[in-house]
């Protein structure tokens, strides 16, 4: 990782979706609310949190697959979007540099297209080759790069296993020589043994091609394994961010602590000794999130202040950020 060169940066990013309320009242799903972070060139930033907390929305909004409701997006020093300044650049030249790999290896590939054409599509869109032969060679080399071979090019997605389909999805993302890839739960649907194959491939590709990743997953052990730093989201907010080993061993936010304690450890002795920090109740709706700190309805440390004031996202120790009023009390 080349130190301290930020490749992507988001500032106060907000993404509200329209929701149909009762009696036609206008309502908003506050999917992402005031989230800021940056990713260094060559780094992997992990993003974890429970279903619906806004991980995918952050990833897609960063690529401007959704138009942000508010905030700023900066890529390689250039402002791509700034609501306040009224900046919204044409994304076409950036689409090549910023790619996405999806969670579901079954739904994300068109069943009527051959593997070769799926991988070739972005090459055509960006007119990256001048003739058929060059196109073919490029497709084959991409397939080889992800551990498939030329023979696979003429087959269809249904003939492949989950792990192989995920490789096809990665080859498609790599087709345009991207610099930055949003990996949205790319291994969640795979069996553990296959998951390890794909995780290793992501690591190899990163070191060979110098890629930068936003790696989204709900499995903290996988995220811990692949990421340099990890951000934790809860109900549209980023609540903590730190170096990944620091986050696992020295978490500060009550939600992160509970999340880590809930992970089933694949080691019987540790598992028996493990004390879970139970969280009461369910995640509230992002349409009417709790006032103040959004975690307060489930937080064992919540008090009046938490209901009134939104906790700021502050740097507590060097590089370790958290958003909570009572960090001194949290055990």
């Amino acid at each position: 990782m080349s130190e301290n060169k930020k490749l992507v940066e988001i500032e106060h990013l907000k993404q509200y979706f329209h929701a149909r309320g009762t009696r036609g009242k206008k309502q908003y799903v506050q999917a992402v609310d005031d989230v800021s972070f940056y990713i260094y060139k060559g780094e992997t930033l992990g993003l974890v949190g429970e279903s619906g907390c806004g991980k995918t929305t952050v990833g897609r909004t960063m690529l401007r697959l959704y138009e942000p409701t508010e905030g700023r997006i900066i890529y390689d020093g250039k402002v791509l979007f700034d609501k306040d300044a009224g900046i919204s650049v044409d994304m076409m030249p950036y689409r090549r540099k910023m790619q996405i790999v999806f969670q579901d290896p079954y739904a994300s590939l068109d069943p009527r297209m051959t593997i070769g054409d799926i991988v070739g599509e972005p090459i055509d869109i960006h007119s990256l080759v001048s003739d058929k032969k060059e196109r073919h060679d490029r497709i084959i080399s991409l397939l080889q790069r992800v551990g498939l071979n030329s023979e696979h090019a003429n087959r269809y997605p249904h003939e492949f296993s989950g792990g192989q389909r995920q490789r096809v999805g990665i080859a498609r993302a790599l087709a345009v020589d991207p610099e930055f890839i949003v990996c949205d739960e790319p291994v969640s649907a795979l069996d553990v043994s296959i998951q390890a194959q794909v995780v290793n491939m992501f690591e190899d590709l990163q070191s060979e091609l110098g890629l930068t990743y936003l790696f989204i997953a709900h499995d903290l052990s996988v995220v811990r394994h692949i990421s340099n730093r990890i951000g934790v989201m809860y109900l549209g907010k980023l609540v903590e961010l730190a170096d990944s080993y620091e986050l696992i061993t020295n978490s500060l936010h009550p939600y992160t602590k509970s999340l880590i304690s809930a992970i089933p450890v694949a080691d019987p002795v540790t598992a028996r000794a493990n004390k879970r920090i139970p969280l009461a109740g369910d995640v509230p709706s992002p349409v009417n999130p709790p006032s103040g700190c959004r975690f307060r309805t489930r937080c064992p440390y919540a008090d009046e202040r938490c209901a009134k004031e939104v906790p700021g996202f502050k740097e507590v120790t060097s590089g370790h950020f958290a958003a909570c009023h009572h960090l001194d009390k949290v055990k």
């Binding site: 296959i194 811990r224 394994h225 696992i248 694949a266 540790t270 493990n274 369910d282």
Partner: protein, 333 residues
């Protein structure tokens, strides 16, 4: 010896599909005592669900028990008809599935659905069934049970729906609860709540549990015994500690090695199991894991390894263990 609650011997079960015969179970044998918690782990398609479903008669058409015997709670399951199964299902043995939404009926209230099961298996009156339903919701930790009884499944969160499923499954105090990936669709904090609940209920009610999962973390904390399945075989069986600390089949070892460790400072490169899962239409001759095994020997490709008994509770099917046992025997002589 204690009476066995469940005893499966040499079960072969296939699905006869238009495309051909899928050999889902290829000689599965194991037994469970009363009150025991067994985890079945293995990759998707390895036969975990089919093994458990066959106890309830849920593998009918195009599935067929080709050979073998299944004894459960005094019943000869392998001889039973659908009519017999209806008497024990939901009564002596119940099941909870991965996705509670598909097993709850969207057009009936939670109350209706729980009371239905109670009335089917007992001669309780409507009033008694209602009271029991309320009691069950309290048992599974749902607050405001009176309000919930009147609600429809879509009005509840995923975690709450899974609690309702558990309430329905426990309505008649079954001897055996089969939990098929009960927390796979849930978030970790909700998963932790449900696992805790299952452990509590088991202590309270004393039933046996078969926990089907691909998550080794879930079995490590929940189960006493573990069966590891691969391609329709139980390739290793033992206590939780035996399987985790003395894994004795190359597949089990591979499985344990492929999990990323959470709290080591340096992350080591993962050791995946190479290759692809077995095609059960054309399973390999010999050891089913041979095409992916890094220790594969010539004999592995030809002949299915026999059982090696490693302790009273621990066994595996691997030629390497056979070799080791033979060498041990030779030096002892």
């Amino acid at each position: 010896m204690k009476e066995k609650l469940l005893e499966i011997k040499d079960e072969y079960l296939s699905f006869f599909t238009p495309a051909g015969e899928i050999k889902a179970l290829n000689g599965v044998s194991f037994s469970m005592e009363e009150g025991e918690v067994l985890g079945i782990v293995g990759e998707s398609g390895s036969g975990k669900s089919v093994t458990a479903y066959s106890v309830m008669g849920l593998t009918a058409f195009p599935g067929r028990l080709v050979s073998g015997t299944i004894r459960f709670n005094g019943h000869e399951i392998h001889k039973m008809t659908e009519k017999d199964f209806r008497k024990i299902r939901g009564n002596e043995v119940s099941i909870i599935f991965q996705d509670p939404m598909t097993s709850l009926n969207p057009v009936y209230t939670i109350g209706n659905q729980i009371e239905e099961v109670i009335k089917l298996h007992t001669d309780k009156t409507a009033k008694q069934a209602h009271d029991r339903a309320r009691e069950l919701l309290e048992l599974v930790g749902i607050n405001e049970p009176d309000k919930r009884l009147k609600q429809y499944p879509h009005e509840l969160s995923g975690g709450m729906r899974q609690r309702v499923m558990i309430a329905i499954a426990l309505a008649c105090e079954p001897k055996l609860l089969i939990a098929d990936e009960p927390t796979t669709a849930l978030d970790v904090t909700i998963q932790a709540q449900i696992l805790e609940l299952m452990q509590e209920l088991r202590k309270k009610l004393g039933m046996s549990i078969i926990m089907i999962t691909h998550d080794l973390g879930v079995v490590a904390s929940m189960c006493e015994k573990i069966a590891v399945m691969y391609a329709g075989h139980i390739v290793e069986y033992g206590t939780t500690d035996e399987v985790f600390y003395k894994p004795s089949h190359e597949y089990t070892k591979g499985l344990i090695n492929s999990i990323p460790k959470l709290n080591t400072e340096e992350t080591e490169r993962l050791v995946p199991i190479e290759g692809q899962p077995v095609d059960l239409m054309n399973p390999p001759a010999g050891c089913p894991f041979a095409p992916r095994c890094s220790k594969c020997m010539k004999i592995c490709l030809r002949q299915m390894p026999p059982k090696t008994q490693l302790s009273e509770t621990h066994y595996s099917y691997c030629w390497l263990r056979q070799k080791e046992e033979a060498q041990k025997g030779a030096t002892e002589e």
